[in-house]
Symmetry: C2
Subunit: 204 residues, 2 copies
């Protein structure tokens, strides 16, 4: 398998492009059009599209819309659905579990774990288990992606258990920086970080 690689920034722009491409109804799409839709630089978009597209763009026409959609979906892994679990089924965990949009992104949340749960419960059609059953269940389901929505005090310990159970990627909503070995990828969705930028802006 030829392993192309993409910058984080590019990867983060792809979902926007995909969204637009799915709406557009023309056979071809130009970098110019995409760029102006999102207020981005034309060259940047062209580089992004060229880097994911298997077939070259054509002068004066642009890229073939359908092929491009397929290529982006492929890079993002949509279509091949990943199964994930949520640890910490409080307000935020519930909100995420209920968020139906994830299936559009190739993500299916198949189970939840919560320390307050003593016996298996159900949230809509998703089972919630006690935390102490986490490791065996994740192992059995071969879960590779986990979402952490527990509080800061418990997040690191949960994270360690997830890694022990074989999880490869972690999406962390707890307000702290998780420490993991280099082969595990962690994405921190720390609200304090986002707020820092906005808050500092208002201070001026």
């Amino acid at each position: 398998m030829e392993s192309r690689s993409f910058s984080i920034q590019t990867l983060q722009r792809l979902p926007y492009y995909l969204d637009y491409l799915r709406k557009v109804e023309t056979e071809n799409v130009s970098s110019t059009a995409v760029a102006s839709e999102f207020g981005l630089n034309e060259v940047q978009v062209r580089k992004d599209l060229a880097s994911v597209s298997l077939q070259a763009g054509q002068p004066r026409k642009g890229f073939a819309t359908l092929a491009l959609i397929r290529d982006i979906e492929d890079v993002l892994g949509y279509g091949h659905v990943d199964e994930a679990v949520i640890v910490g089924v409080g307000h935020l965990g519930t909100a995420l579990a209920n968020y139906s949009g994830f299936e559009n992104y190739g993500l299916k949340i198949v189970a939840g774990f919560d320390k307050r749960v003593k016996h298996e419960e159900w949230l809509n059609d998703m089972p919630i288990f006690p935390v102490d059953r986490m490791i065996p269940i994740i192992r059995r389901l071969k879960i590779r992606l986990a979402i952490i929505t527990v509080d800061a005090a418990n997040a690191q310990s949960v994270c360690d258990q997830l890694v022990e159970a074989g999880t490869e990627a972690i999406w962390n909503f707890a307000p702290l920086k998780l420490r993991v070995s280099d082969d595990i990828i962690v994405h921190n969705e720390n609200m304090a970080c986002s707020l820092a930028v906005l808050s500092n802006h208002l201070r001026k």
Copy 2:
């Protein structure tokens, strides 16, 4: 007022530093210590700290912990509380509204708006108003920061109304890129973008 400016990356690291500094009990803290706590580069941390600190660090000792805490809080605007509103009180909006942690970050959510609400309702001690009362209420309260948790279809229209009402910063959880004039700052907390990085990683 001397208007120092900080890179977004630095601003996003500051909350982590702050968290650590508050826990530490020594009179001084070195960049080295902070860096090793978070697995960051020592020089990077030193540059960050030097850029926010009003007084210089001392060789062999580091920075004065308390002064540093104060300086970071100042840059982040904690202490001076900002009032914010939430538009879209669904699962996610409720989760955010209930999240008590924001007060630690100088953010107080004072009202919500939702299109399904016809007459004023209460969520704990926060009032929820119909969307059509949004503009006058935001004007009256002089709200500068708004959180958008409506669906993608309505987000741009909500955003336009917020700007019209005088909002200066927007924290957007809807999965699309909002178009605003340059003087408004938007932070997109697009789940699809975060997921893109993780998902691509698992594909390899």
